[in-house]
């Protein structure tokens, strides 16, 4: 089949699916949907359809981004718009199928919104919902709509038409279209994609390589996973376009081992694309051949760094090397290599089809297009979002994220993972682009955004990221290998109440030295979380050092629990569940916590049934900093 024939077959299948006479049911089955019980929902739907003798098409789709509403199920009834339903657990399936498919009651109470043309009374428009309105979907435009394991769905949505168009274009034209788009690397560094391709194109050494960095090791980030699971062909097409532009048939995807579903779907996608000659030898009868191989990572954060990643593919330890030479000159096996991130590749097909100017119409002067972020932590609507560059952090946290649970105050946003920084409330109006975030002391990073509230200790979170980097340091260069553990020692002392007044200056000194001297991106950015935390939350550091107090009451050596007898109903649940038997007492009396045995695990707080918990936290010299005003009064009583 030639491409137009493939397209018409795909379009016919798509039309039949969406506009045919059978209902269509889409179930979100990315990792997040599966973890929320999506597979059980899928089974229940099939069972219900059989039970009622209803003929319908049921397909598994990727993640539309709203992880907090999983399992998500969309139903398209003939002649009706697509309706998206949230929290469709297997228990809810029978009533939904019966009410909507049999009795034509669209159950507005369970519905989230309608997608596409037409409307249903009582159900809002999906893309008009507050969390979706500010979003623009380019990299994620297919996620949640197409079946990722069916290439015809991707093609029906315009897939592979970029590659087909490119086969009639020159390499220079493609690179210049990329230049017009202004697309910069979405892995974090923000290097202009077109420039990388141009340099790789100019380099005449052979063979050359196109490598996709899918080693999303940044904890708290899952953008790449969602793209690979929801729309794997977009990445493959982007890679093929890169291969065409730089002139190579060799493509590799380095995918982290923790993403088995992504690897499975990629393998299926590669196989399907080869069968239709959209990958492989002489693609669509042209001179151009392109093949993609998958290499699974083995769990090393540093392998997200370009040179380390390539060593890892070669079967070596993933230790970065000094640059230059850059990888476009000497990359995989010492040969010219263009390395781009998953999201970067996923943007490319749309740019080639719709033009660079269209893409550049979104975003800011220096940051064009959109960026995906994984919004997590203490936020009402965690999930995956895609927003135009230049949107403010405030819009992301409050409009899209819905603010902080229990209306607690926002404290900080951590961007860029272990290489990034914590930004406080007064920087909430910072626009999201490479330069603004760098100016604030953080980085754009690959797109992890972790929101923390007042229950999070900024010293503890700095300690968390630093210990992550200490563990993940490859050990090659001295500043990172020796310097980071020195910083960690100081931090551990501070959280144990053994901090010294000079510690803050020591940390800043060490941090700046490591930033100046380390070899790769991991080392030069590892001190960032500590340095920004000191810069914006110095009071909290001083409380730990001078008053031996943890205001957020997280550092275990700096707070303790007490049971306030006046509020306790003496149910003794805490006593029975305490894993260290630190709670003792007689029946009908409030139990007492033996501080020496208590490990501050918080089990007592979790099992306590009282509305106003009688278990109070104390920190520092008899001071309670509970956010609850009533507890503060109690403290005065306790003295």
């Amino acid at each position: 089949m030639n491409f137009p024939e493939i397209q018409s077959k795909a379009n016919a299948e798509w039309k039949d699916l969406w506009e045919g006479d059978k209902p269509l049911i889409l179930v979100g089955l990315a990792t997040c949907g599966i973890a929320a019980g999506g597979n059980a929902t899928m089974e229940a739907i099939k069972a219900e359809l059989t039970r009622h003798g209803i003929e319908a098409n049921v397909i598994a789709v990727g993640c539309i981004g709203m992880c907090y509403l999983e399992p998500l199920v969309d139903i398209v009834k003939p002649g009706r718009p697509r309706i998206s339903y949230s929290h469709v657990t297997k228990e809810k399936v029978p009533e939904l199928i019966e009410d909507y498919l049999l009795n034509d009651n669209p159950r507005p109470d369970l519905a989230l919104g309608t997608i596409g043309e037409g409307s249903v009374e009582g159900i809002p428009k999906f893309w008009e919902l507050p969390m979706l309105k500010p979003q623009v979907r380019i990299a994620l435009h297919n996620c949640g709509t197409i079946a990722p394991e069916n290439i015809y769905h991707y093609i029906a949505q315009g897939g592979y038409s970029g590659l087909s168009k490119a086969l009639g274009m020159s390499q220079e034209d493609i690179i210049s279209e990329m230049e017009k788009s202004g697309l910069r690397g979405r892995g974090g560094a923000g290097f202009p994609t077109w420039r990388k391709w141009k340099e790789a194109n100019r380099n005449k050494a052979t063979p050359k390589f196109v490598v996709c960095n899918a080693d999303e090791g940044d904890p708290g980030a899952f953008m790449d996973r969602s793209v690979l699971e929801g729309d794997p062909h977009a990445v493959l097409e982007g890679m093929a376009l890169a291969g065409y532009a730089i002139g190579t048939p060799n493509g590799y995807i380095y995918c982290r081992a923790e993403y088995p579903l992504a690897v499975k779907r990629l393998n299926i996608a590669i196989q399907q694309a080869k069968e239709l000659n959209l990958l492989g030898e002489n693609i669509q009868g042209s001179e151009f051949s392109f093949d993609v191989q998958i290499m699974q990572g083995a769990g090393a954060f540093v392998c997200g760094e370009g040179s380390a990643l390539m060593y890892s593919i070669e079967g070596k330890r993933g230790m970065p090397r000094v640059r230059p030479p850059r990888s476009v000159e000497s990359g995989l096996w010492g040969l010219p290599t263009s390395l781009n991130n998953v999201e970067t590749f996923a943007n490319v097909p749309s740019i080639i089809v719709k033009g660079g100017d269209w893409f550049a119409g979104y975003g800011t002067e220096t940051g064009k297009g959109t960026k995906t972020f994984a919004l997590t932590g203490k936020i009402n609507r965690p999930g995956l979002i895609e927003v135009p560059m230049g949107i403010t952090l405030r819009e992301i946290v409050y409009d899209i994220g819905g603010g902080i649970p229990e209306d607690k105050p926002f404290k900080a946003m951590q961007t860029g993972g272990p290489s990034g920084g914590c930004l406080p409330t007064d920087l909430l109006d910072t626009p999201v682009d490479f330069e603004s975030l760098a100016k604030a002391g953080s980085i754009m990073g690959s797109g992890g955004m972790v929101i923390v509230d007042t229950d999070t200790c900024m010293v503890d979170i700095a300690l968390y990221f630093l210990s992550f980097c200490v563990e993940e340091s490859c050990g090659k260069c001295v500043p990172c290998r020796e310097g980071l553990p020195l910083m960690l020692d100081i931090l551990e002392r501070i959280t144990k109440g053994e901090g010294e007044p000079e510690d803050i200056d020591r940390l800043k000194d060490l941090g700046e030295t490591i930033k100046a001297g380390a070899l790769c991106g991991l080392g030069t950015s590892a001190p960032n979380p500590v340095l920004t935390s000191i810069r914006y939350f110095r009071e909290e550091w001083e409380a730990h050092i001078h008053d031996k107090r943890c205001p957020a009451m997280v550092c275990k050596d700096l707070f303790h629990y007490e049971i306030l007898s006046k509020r306790c109903v003496a149910c003794h649940r805490c006593l029975w569940s305490c894993p260290t038997k630190a709670i003792t007492g007689h029946s009908l009396e409030a139990p007492v916590i033996n501080e020496a045995r208590c490990t501050r695990c918080g089990t007592c707080v979790t099992v306590c049934p009282a509305k106003v918990s009688p278990i109070a936290k104390y920190t520092g010299k008899g001071i309670v900093t509970s956010s609850e005003p009533q507890a503060l009064e109690e403290v005065t009583v306790h003295g």
Binding site: C67, D218, R317, A374, G377, P382, V450, V452, F465, P579
Partner: protein, 155 residues
């Protein structure tokens, strides 16, 4: 119980499909671990033989990556996510509770070889934080007491 010779034959068979491939060493180690749950010492020489590297080099590579285990894990592997989102939502308390209950430290296996306790940095299921995975089953919004209930199912 396999003898060392049988074990070596078995390993050779597992990695044979990688012969002549461009990328051999790490996929071979992954294949061996997939089969045995860990890397027996015999694996290094065999993988080295196929990849054209010394057993020493292979061990050097294997020990660099956190995916590889060098001791046999328990029947069920409990992985607690210590990614950022899980951390701020209190996943270290899950580890504490499990360590106390199972009387092992993170990275260890119980004496009856029933459970291994591991921590990982992010499964990418951050919206369900804190997350715990037993074998391949993912559990979201886990607390210390809930973790203890979950592992009862596997006892």
């Amino acid at each position: 119980m396999n003898t060392a010779v049988e074990l070596k034959d078995q390993i050779r068979e597992i990695i044979e499909h990688l012969r002549g491939q461009q990328i051999v060493l790490i996929p071979a180690l992954q294949a061996v671990q997939e089969k045995f749950g860990y890397l027996p010492p015999e694996a290094f020489e065999e993988v080295g033989g196929l990849a054209g590297a010394s057993a020493n080099t292979v061990y050097g590579v294997a020990s660099f990556y956190s995916q590889f285990r060098f001791v046999k894990p328990g029947e069920h592997i409990i992985k607690v996510c210590l990614g950022t989102a899980c951390h701020v939502c209190g996943s270290s308390r899950i580890v504490d509770a499990l360590e106390l209950e199972l009387a092992i430290k993170e990275g260890e296996t119980t004496e009856d070889e029933k459970f291994s306790l591991e921590s990982v940095r992010c499964f990418g299921s951050c919206a369900l934080a804190p997350v715990m995975v037993v074998d391949d089953e993912v559990y979201g919004s886990v607390t210390g007491p809930k973790a203890l209930d979950i592992i009862k199912k596997y006892q």
